[in-house]
Point group: C2
Chain length 326, copies 2
């Protein structure tokens, strides 16, 4: 009984595929449980057991989650939404104390991902190409005059999730309007190139990247990849390996990368399952299985690049209907 | 062999559920075939047979579709995208001549749906409440001064599909900027109320509305309903019946409606399967079956309101992977 590998997925939302994949990989050797603060999160209903929980910012939230873990013999926990990742990382020891492994990078590494300007500095200092970024608009104007950067540029919050509040801007006047209206903005170069996504698993025991799945994004919709095609490039794999080792990521991460004039530029990292991970799974890059191996105390072997190129993934809508209590 | 009920779905795109529902309802009594101009339309791969076709605006497109119908003994055809609806309606006779029924309203009625200002005039003239609309900005400014309408308002193209190019506007200055930049705009009142969607089937033989499914939209995403809950209100059913009879719709339509201060306002009509139709199907409002009955020459009986209230539909992403030819 104690040997059941029960897994808890926090803030599951509409990520039904992730719940389904874990159920498939566990194949009865444990249960997949899920939480959300809304009963209208369809992924709840694909789990073996689900819990409607308070909102993350409510007092007592952490204790609520910890008690779910304890009572349900949860072996590993992870979250699918950004604001919860820092919470999990910060309280790693509380989970470990009750026998639950949080699948998440260290707190400082998670925080680095959510401060786009800190990440920019980290990348530059460590010799990685990245998207030119400014928090000082005067410095930006000087660089425009010097021809180092040109309009259009993106103006966005230094700490922001998904594509919320991103403005494509064509003039100094527009930059001024936005900086007068909002605090903590940054200016980012517009990358006129190809966009890639990488799903990477860094073994939780060995600390080594063991799986990398890269895909070219061919159609976006509402800030999410709608269609993508699998690609392989050893140069990109080497860059990703070097970067994740340097930053010290652990578990599952999702990286956004641009290619301009045959050079790769690291853009952003989400230290969680990316919205496009189903593409990797459908191509055989089985990260749920690797997580289960780690929970069982086994180190995963390196399967980087172990998938087929030219496989296109297309999203479409599935529906789940429930009776609401009114 | 001639008795097979083969159905052709044009421009199927990501509407996998529609293809799946028809396959289920035909249950082997015919084939569901689908077209798209892109091989990256996931719904193609749920069909029994699929065709990659030229773009709709290319010469010879209609003949291409007609020859597919002829060669595959297609009994009925319909499209899932707006620009193609007028084409189908306009060339109804060409399809009928080869034994294929286009599931679409008459040409004039389809055109009325795509001219938002004509639809506004039609509704007002026939005594239906609708969203206050202007193509004359000076008349709008006068009404603002007279307190008949207030900011914010929407500025959008008179002929526009989905939510493309819709601006929420707060001042005369912004209205002027948009009207200087673009032609054929209209100004529409911002409705601060509840939004409903109605899926309606008007029997192709009797001309009577026989199915109405109404739902409250509770969450939107990228202009599409992400979550909705089924509702029933006889007052709304009566309004819809009166409206569809007056306008002379046929087959499947999708209506957007607002409720403000307990009054219903008809906003827009899409004379095709709406993106939220799966909600109705999952609640038992089986329009594919009604279409099949009509193809077989049978009149459908009235099942208006024959479903459960309080059923919530939630969308999530499913994926389809294919090997691309590179």
């Amino acid at each position: 009984m104690n040997e059941d590998i029960n897994i808890l997925i926090l803030s599951c939302g509409t990520r039904n595929k992730i719940v389904q994949y874990f159920k498939k990989e566990l194949a009865g050797k444990g249960q997949v449980m899920a939480t959300d603060c809304s009963e209208l999160a369809p992924a709840l209903y694909d789990a073996d057991k689900y819990f409607i929980v308070p909102r993350m910012d409510e007092e007592g939230y952490l204790d609520f989650i910890l008690s779910i873990c304890k009572e349900n013999n949860i072996k590993a926990v992870f979250s699918l939404i950004d604001p919860e990742l820092s919470l999990l990382a910060k309280h790693r020891q509380n989970f470990l104390d009750i026998g639950t492994i949080p699948i998440i990078s260290d707190f400082e590494v998670v925080e680095l991902c959510f401060d786009k300007y800190e990440m920019y500095k980290f990348l530059i200092q460590n010799g990685f190409k990245t998207v030119r970024s400014y928090i000082d608009k005067e410095k930006f104007y000087k660089d425009v005059e010097a021809g180092i950067i040109n309009y259009p540029v993106f103006v966005k919050p230094v700490k922001g999730s998904a594509s919320i509040n991103i403005n494509k801007v064509n003039s100094k006047q527009e930059v001024e309007v936005l900086f007068n209206q909002f605090d903590n903005l940054m200016i980012q170069e517009f990358m006129d190139g190809i966009e890639y996504g990488a799903d990477v698993y860094i073994d939780m025991i060995s600390g080594e990247p063991v799986a990398i799945f890269t895909k070219e994004k061919i159609k976006m919709r509402a800030g999410e990849t709608d269609k993508s095609v699998s690609i392989k490039d050893d140069k990109l794999f080497e860059l990703i390996k070097k970067f994740v080792k340097k930053a010290g990521f652990k578990g599952i991460i999702d990286i956004d990368i641009f290619k301009v004039d045959d050079e790769y530029y690291i853009s952003e990292v989400n230290p969680r399952f990316g919205g496009g991970y189903p593409h990797g799974y459908e191509c055989g890059v089985n990260i749920p299985k690797m997580i289960i191996e780690n929970i069982n105390g086994n180190v995963n072997k390196d399967v980087i690049g172990d998938y087929e190129e030219g496989i296109c993934m297309m999203k479409f809508n599935e529906v789940k209907a429930i009776k609401t209590v009114k």
